[in-house]
Subunit: 267 residues, 2 copies
């Protein structure tokens, strides 16, 4: 099911700036029984990302209604895209624009239904650092596409990415975090990467439980020295990295702890 | 006028990866009397850019026919977009994809009809360096949108961009070049920027005329020391920069010389 500007049509104008320039933002969220999970956080993040691009964010009630209209009956995935809409030729933003909003549902992928530990690899691609866009989930995602194309082994679930200075940033489709000696660590995302809602909720839960969390620039060596390495996003929750290339970790209990905190409530 | 996969429709599937990720490439070309200008070079560049993203490039004859079908009678602009087409959710490229091609015409903008000297400014935004995508005209153009939004003075025609190491790269919508002591200079684009067809034709013409051209990393100071500074693209040809912020240059004859070479033939 799909809604484009509230209508049950599955196409957008070919002159939309979302297509021409990737001039827009998106969200991917989980739905349970036709309701969005972590809605308030997703909407807050959508507002923040719209504001990075100076886009008008759609009305919250309208958007939530559309999410519920398209959502599958059981578990499902809904993607929201907001673009700057149809524009004249050229990079300059027209004085008057009407954003395009796309709300589309898809089935929950099989891999997102399990809490199995996962296997990861390092990607060759280095993320470019663009502080003016960092953290936002905008529609310019070619780096993710190119990085994801580096492997096709079905048992490798995720690729980890560093920036061009060698700092670890994230997974291709997830944020990364790790625990060491009772504390949590996750990369700073002020230079590149997407600051996801699941990561934000983990950090919030850690703060609530008095767990010290370090958000900073780290190297792959920092991660490799961890007690437990995890990835997270809104579909998969927190998943333990059991193997990263040739490095293997045994579980020490952080992943279930953080998942419990993450799913403490679904609002 | 527009063609989407050969059909006279003005919309694309909302699940197209061109919208979702900017997973595609584009060309903007000039048409004269319904025929594409510099067609062979544009098609060669489209092929090269498709190959960067491992996209199937549309058949040359089909594409040229569609350009002619949509082109305005007199002077006009045609934009070609090629995307990876409709895909399942997720960054992984589906095993079987069918590219989407969009061919759409618009009127020649007023500013592209003149050969007047132009005024430029330096942009604050620094382009991020991503060698895996550099040079290609892909659909991830948010940096250009954000940089173009830095000014709205109608008499400023173009903004010049440096990368995060301070090397000059290009204009927001053009390539940049300059002349000094009888030789030409233009930035290397192996780290970021778009290697446009007009720039390529200028370099080819210079080689033919025995003018030495340097393609390298340069600083703004190198450009400021030039005898004549120019920008170029497929719509505007070569245009002289008469003023860049507070620096003013008088013409010394390079712009008409290079324009003559550029328009020596329209094929």
């Amino acid at each position: 099911m799909i809604r484009v500007n509230g209508q049950a049509i599955d196409s957008i104008n070919a002159r939309d700036r979302g297509l021409a320039y990737g001039d827009g933002v998106f969200r991917t969220l989980r739905t349970e029984a036709g309701q969005p999970v972590w809605w308030a956080d997703h909407y807050t993040k959508l507002q923040a990302d719209c504001s990075v691009l100076k886009l008008d964010c759609p009305d919250q009630g309208t958007l939530r209604d559309e999410v519920c209209q398209v959502a599958e009956a059981g578990q499902g995935v809904v993607k929201i895209m907001v673009t700057r809409g149809v524009g004249a030729r050229g990079y300059a933003v027209p004085e008057v624009t009407e954003t395009t909003r796309v709300v589309l549902a898809s089935a929950m992928p099989q891999h997102a239904k399990s809490f199995d530990d996962i296997r990861a690899r390092w990607c060759e691609l280095r993320l470019a650092r663009q502080p003016r866009l960092a953290g936002a989930k905008h529609l310019n995602r070619l780096e993710n596409v190119v990085a994801r194309a580096e492997w096709d082994e079905p048992d490798i679930f995720e690729g980890l990415l560093c920036d061009d200075q060698g700092a670890i940033v994230s997974g291709v489709m997830s944020n990364v975090l790790w625990a060491k000696q009772g504390e949590l660590f996750t990369p700073d995302l002020s230079q590149c990467g997407v600051a996801g809602v699941a990561r934000m909720r983990v950090l919030r839960a850690a703060a609530r439980q008095g767990i010290r969390a370090h958000v900073d620039r780290f190297t792959p060596a920092d991660l490799l020295a961890a007690d437990e390495v995890m990835i997270c996003n809104s579909l998969i929750g927190v998943r333990r990295v059991a193997r990263l290339d040739d490095t293997i970790w045994l579980p020490v209990g952080w992943t279930p702890l953080l998942n419990d905190a993450l799913y403490e409530n679904l609002d």
